[in-house]
């Protein structure tokens, strides 16, 4: 049997490489999987042929005693090899592998859905979203699916070590499979993230193959890398196991953003449509928008426990008004409990009281899940941006070239992105200096994150920013590169046209040209971020910082930016600023063409 498998060159077939996660490495092959338990041959990680021989021996030779029966573990290899070797099809209900058979019966995979929990404004940790792969059983309800997830496991509690190790692949990543409703509670609820679901065009047979492969991967680790071999990348292996013609894992960029895997899967024509599952926080915002001022106050009191559900009759709201107020109050109570602002006992009492009052009012009210669907995140602008700029400052023309690998700024077209959030990592801008005839670094933004989350009737989230990097600016003695680190916190408000915000800021500068090499100070910034019609955006901002330690001075700026969205890949920006740094005033006007991909 082994000879026959080798004669057929099964180890050179695409599907064998997919199942073992082999990738070309120099002259040979190497599996992306790092766990030795995944391989049957000792050198299986690097030798597809030996692994094939060992697999055939283990699956079709003398049954092994003890440990986990390889026939019940390597189920995808087993199904495929039987087919290739012309053996009768393997029936999975023979009672030979009770655990596997039970799991297969329970999940009963028919179709699959790619799931994308988006980012949440005020949680830096969930910046880029996540991806899951759902196995849908024979049910209509999407909640009864099972979600496959790939994540890293660690006992690290030191945040810094944790980041470093995550980047360098020192944590093991594992696949898991859980009821999708648990994931809904986790993402829509606890983490307050909107979820997008993309049903995949896979046949039941393909979905089943994917499930068999997932079974093989359970309790198997691979080194987890935050940027590339991460949660999203590893799910692509499952899709290749479903349909080996798909080449999803081969062209791996330097970093894999969850939303880019959605785009990748879409490019392979696997996605037909998208459905939207708003988080508890989004629902509360939407529901509250349907209340008038008086109903809002009453809903607040109901949620705060100052007004009892049964006292509502005396308020004279009318049945529809009562329904609206009670339903908003119920969502607000859920959110309070999730945020731990409410004890379990209080939550139960209030929630139940509100629901009891609601249950006596019969049908009516709006469907909590009705409402406009935002633009799909994968239909937003691309994650990387190149900018070409031309401008005028201090009596001369300037040219600028900028690149931002990741991912969205406040002024960029907002479709598909979370309103009021900015995540810029590793961005830099170069300027051509006419006088010196040389290219100079204008700025390098290691991180520049802004989260503007508007306060509402039930919740007053903190808006914040953090940024660090290098920038060329005016110092007491000419223009130089300065290292900066800044943080800020405050509040944002939803206005008629957009978001207004006020943040208190601190900033530290480090440069040789400063007194004692540094300046540290504090100040404030305020701004308004508006959407004007379908394609225009505006950001107006004032900022002042007073440096109190080191070099004592101040800087300030007034800035206005306008952005015109042309299409998903292009936009134009006009940015005008007047600023003062260390007693030197300057005005600058720039025009940019931005290209996204």
């Amino acid at each position: 049997m082994q000879q026959r498998a080798v004669q057929l060159k099964l180890h050179e077939q695409r599907y064998w490489r997919v199942l073992l996660h082999y990738r070309k490495q120099g002259d040979g092959w190497e599996s992306q999987i790092d766990d030795p338990d995944f391989f049957i041959a000792l050198n299986g990680k690097t030798n597809p042929r030996d692994e094939l021989i060992a697999t055939v021996a283990a699956l079709f030779g003398e049954p092994t005693v003890g440990a986990e029966n390889p026939r019940c573990r390597y189920v995808a290899r087993r199904a495929w090899l039987r087919e290739q070797l012309g053996l009768p099809e393997w029936t999975t209900d023979a009672g030979e592998c009770p655990d596997f058979e039970q799991a297969l019966r329970w999940v009963d995979p028919q179709t699959a859905t790619l799931v994308f929990p988006g980012s949440y404004a005020n949680s830096p940790a969930s910046m880029f979203g996540h991806t899951l792969l759902n196995f849908n059983g024979p049910y209509q309800s999407k909640q009864l699916a099972h979600a496959a997830n790939y994540s890293a496991f660690t006992d690290e509690t030191n945040g810094f070590a944790y980041a470093i190790k995550g980047i360098t692949g020192s944590y093991p990543g594992y696949y898991s499979l859980l009821p999708y409703y648990d994931k809904i509670k986790e993402y829509n609820g606890l983490e307050r993230r909107d979820i997008w679901e993309y049903p995949l065009r896979l046949t039941p047979e393909e979905t089943r193959k994917m499930f068999l492969h997932l079974w093989e991967l359970r309790n198997i680790y691979s080194d987890y890398y935050f940027f590339d071999e991460n949660c999203s990348y590893n799910l692509l292996f499952l899709l290749e196991a479903a349909r080996p013609d798909l080449r999803l894992t081969e062209q791996r960029p330097l970093w894999v953003m969850p939303v880019d895997t959605v785009r990748l899967v879409d490019r392979h024509d696997l996605i037909a449509e998208a459905s939207y599952r708003p988080s508890v926080a989004t629902l509360l915002n939407r529901q509250t928008a349907g209340l008038d001022a008086r109903e809002t106050v009453i809903a607040q009191k109901l949620a705060g426990g100052e007004l009892r559900g049964r006292d509502l009759d005396a308020m004279g709201l009318g049945a529809e008004g009562e329904i609206r107020a009670l339903e908003v109050a119920a969502t607000a109570i859920e959110l309070k409990f999730i945020k731990k602002d409410l004890s379990l006992a209080d939550y139960r009492r209030r929630y139940l009281e509100i629901l009891k009052a609601r249950s006596t009012l019969g049908a009516g009210g709006a469907d909590r899940h009705s409402g406009q669907k935002p633009i799909r995140p994968d239909h937003g602008h691309g994650s990387s941006r190149l900018g070409l700029g031309l401008g005028y400052t201090e009596s001369r023309w300037v040219q600028e070239l900028s690149f931002r690998p990741v991912n969205h700024g406040l002024l960029d077209p907002e479709d598909g992105y979370l309103p009021g959030s900015q995540i810029e990592l590793g961005a830099f801008a170069l300027r051509f200096n006419e006088e010196k005839r040389q290219i100079q670094l204008k700025r390098f933004q290691l991180v520049d994150i802004v989260s503007l989350a508007p306060v509402n009737a039930f919740d007053a989230p903190v808006s914040w920013l953090v940024r660090a990097g290098l920038r060329r600016q005016t110092l007491p003695e000419g223009r130089h590169l300065v290292s900066y680190l800044g943080t800020g916190g405050g509040y944002a408000w939803q206005g008629r046209w957009g978001l207004g915000y006020l943040l208190l800021e601190t900033e530290g500068l480090y440069a040789r040209y400063l007194k004692n090499d540094f300046a540290i100070g504090g100040g404030a910034s305020a701004g308004y971020l508006a959407r004007l019609g379908a394609n225009w955006r505006m950001h107006a901002k004032v900022r002042q910082i007073r440096y109190l330690l080191g070099e004592r001075d101040w800087s300030g700026s007034v800035e206005l930016g306008l952005n015109l969205r042309i299409d998903r890949r292009n936009s134009l920006s006009a940015e005008v600023a007047r600023r003062v740094d260390f007693d030197s005033w300057a005005t600058e006007g720039m025009l940019f063409w931005y290209r996204y991909w």
């Binding site: 496991f153 690290e156 409703y181 509670k185 987890y224 629901l355 609601r358 249950s359 899940h369």
Partner: protein
Amino acid sequence: MKIKLVIGGCLIVLAAAGSSLAGQAQNNCGCGLGSMLWANKADGSILSQTMQVTTNGLFGNQTFGITSGTLGCEQPESIGADDRTFAYVRDNMDGLARDIAVGRGEYLETLAELLAVPEDSKGAFADSLQDNFSQIFVTGEEPAEVILERIVIVAG
């Protein structure tokens, strides 16, 4: 005991040895409303029942997490519903309570499907549960089997 954080968009699960934390999580678990949403207010940690379940699903003795579970809320021996329905009611009691009170929603539809309510009876099913909400959820502390039993009785 495992704690979970999310970084860089992807999931990281912290697996820390700490039996005291584990004990607290179990104490706080219980059954009824709220118990499956967010258990652990007491220790102020990011540990939650959901997360505990998540990791049990992977490393525990359950079959690859195909059913989650709460300690102390396991299915009693004799109950007239199947495992899936019981687990669903136990794990989604809050959403179910809201949908029953409101008279519609995904949780209610899922329950109707699990109980094999015929398509043309779903309206009546929703109405009778809504009308009897106060008889189904009396204290909010009832375990899933009690809620499910009452639902089955009310729905006839």
